[in-house]
């Protein structure tokens, strides 16, 4: 029972961490808070469902298609919706508030399109739905795969951001956007790239989620909320923080659901969230500045 819960918690936490990394990149690099983030996740989940059920292709191959699609979609959204706001606000708190309002609108547009296309029913598909024995506990293979994918994608992102010049430049923009032009970085272009990269991660998260969870056209909000909690817990713009906070959130949810009551999971999540906000307002790994 304990091992099963632990593994289930890690699987869920891995997904949360993956999903939160995209949001923290969008916020850290592009300085926009994207409330339609969860809708990108669900759209990709529907994409994986279609690819699996109509084409009979593995969702893993779907990733190859859907991650670039998420990138492209977010790239366009930034150009159409965010850039005018960036130009108008000249950065700072105004941009954060404007982006929250604009993406709040976008949330309902995407959700409406998905409701029309797929209806409001819960959807899932059967992929690698057989048990695997790990340390005496039986875990569904699709959950295991979801965890491995989260690790691989998260690890790849980490290498991209720390080992390449392009990734280092994105981190530079997130720590000191005003200094980026001094080394020849086009900060506006970097912001758009960061936003699009976050969209690609959201799409990956959606594919991973769809492999082992049921979802509906209106589930996006839940993922945005959870990602937001993880981002704030881990410290805004902090990848390692998002990773740890995601795992903690997944473990807490699963343990509370198994040992206390499934009805209390959300309450427990918010309790921890509030405790961290009171105890460490800049997040578990955030720095005490600003």
């Amino acid at each position: 029972m304990l091992t099963t819960t632990l593994i289930a918690g890690l699987v869920l936490g891995g997904t949360y961490a993956l999903v939160a990394m995209g949001l923290t990149i969008q916020y850290g690099i592009a300085r926009t808070m994207n409330l339609a983030y969860g809708e990108t996740i669900i759209a990709a989940a529907f994409g994986a469902y279609l690819i699996h059920n109509t084409l009979g292709v593995s969702p893993i191959l779907g990733l190859v298609l859907l991650a670039p699609a998420g990138f492209a979609f977010s790239w366009i959204v930034y150009g159409l919706l965010m850039r005018p706001l960036v130009r108008r606000s000249k950065g700072g708190a105004v941009l954060e508030i404007d982006s929250i309002l604009a993406t709040f609108g976008l949330l309902f547009v995407i959700q409406g399109v998905m409701l029309v296309g797929f209806g409001g029913n819960y959807i899932s598909y059967n992929y690698m739905n057989f048990g695997v024995d790990i340390f005496g506990a039986t875990v569904a293979a699709n959950r295991l795969l979801a965890f491995v994918l989260a690790l691989v994608i998260g690890g790849g992102l980490y290498l991209l951001l720390t080992r390449t010049r392009w990734g280092t430049a994105l981190r530079a923009v997130s720590v000191a956007p005003e200094s980026a032009p001094l080394v020849g970085i086009d900060a506006d272009r970097a912001a758009r790239f960061g936003f699009a990269l976050g969209g690609a991660l959201a799409a990956c998260g959606g594919v991973v989620v769809s492999m082992y969870q049921t979802f509906t056209a209106s589930s996006g909000v839940i993922f945005t909320m959870k990602a937001l909690i993880v981002v704030i817990m881990g410290g805004v713009g902090n990848l390692a923080g998002a990773l740890s906070a995601g795992l903690i959130l997944g473990l807490v949810e699963t343990f509370v659901a198994s040992y206390v009551s499934p009805g209390l999971t959300l309450a427990a999540v918010y309790l921890i969230f509030l405790a961290i906000l009171l105890w460490r307002p800049t997040g578990l790994f955030g720095k005490a500045r600003r």
């Binding site: 430049a169 530079a172 720590v175 032009p181 001094l182």
Partner: protein, 239 residues
């Protein structure tokens, strides 16, 4: 090599620069002297493309007009700026800051040679490559800022108040390094309040007062000029 004409900048109603003109030859070291608020930083920022000047200005660099180009394009043309406050990436390591210094396309070809040159110029940076810049002293951070700018292989290096906040001993070392950079063939345009030491390494100087150029001449003549001594050296000596 650099020819600035009719450069005027205003921030809303406040006019920071009135019709400034100046010229530099290749390989020259030129210092711009002026009190706080004279418009020195604005002058460097508008050459670097960080501040947009009023219509009618020309900034000719290596025979092309670069006025109005965004800052990242200006850097590609070969002008690097070390701003006041240094503008480095505090959360990144020394190595990462230098790595990003060579982000520009123009910097890639000679990146290894430029890195060797920077580490030779500032051996301290070689010892501290993996250190986060925010945890370093002011003098070391200034080395990172200058080293990072040199990584972009600039033809013209502009420095805004490089001595600010440094101990007198370090200021001496810093200007020795700058003189070495100047001798290597890089043109230097330095804005300074520390008149004596900046004139000691400069070929020529300009005096900037309330947004206007009010005088210019060879560095040794400016150092002896009673007006300069009265306006700047006197004040510097009092400090």
């Amino acid at each position: 090599m650099l020819e600035v004409e009719n450069l005027a900048v205003d921030y809303g109603k406040h006019v920071a620069l009135h019709c400034v003109s100046l010229a530099m030859q290749e390989g020259e070291t030129v210092v711009i002297l002026g009190a706080n608020g004279a418009g020195k930083s604005t002058l460097l920022k508008s050459i670097a493309g960080l501040v947009r000047p009023r219509e009618g200005a020309t900034v000719d660099f290596s025979s092309s007009n670069i006025v109005g180009l965004p800052a990242h394009e200006v850097l590609e043309r070969g002008i690097a700026l070390v701003p006041e406050g240094r503008g480095i990436f505090p959360d990144l390591t020394v190595a990462e800051n230098l790595f990003l210094g060579a982000y520009a396309r123009r910097a890639r070809k000679d990146e290894a040679a430029n890195l060797a040159m920077v580490l030779d110029l500032f051996p301290r940076l070689a010892e501290r490559r993996q250190q986060t810049v925010a945890t370093m002293s002011g003098g070391e951070q200034q080395m990172v800022a200058i080293g990072r700018a040199l990584m972009s292989a600039p033809k013209l290096l502009m420095l805004d108040e490089p001595s600010l906040g440094l101990a007198p001993v370090l200021v001496g070392e810093l200007f020795q390094s700058l003189a070495r950079i100047g001798r290597s063939g890089v043109s230097l345009l330095i804005v300074e309040q520390n008149v004596r030491i900046s004139l000691s390494i400069a070929d020529r100087g300009y005096l900037l007062e309330a947004g206007r150029i009010v005088g210019h001449g060879p560095a040794d003549r400016l150092a002896d000029d009673p007006a300069v001594q009265h306006a700047f050296l006197g004040a510097a000596a009092d400090n």
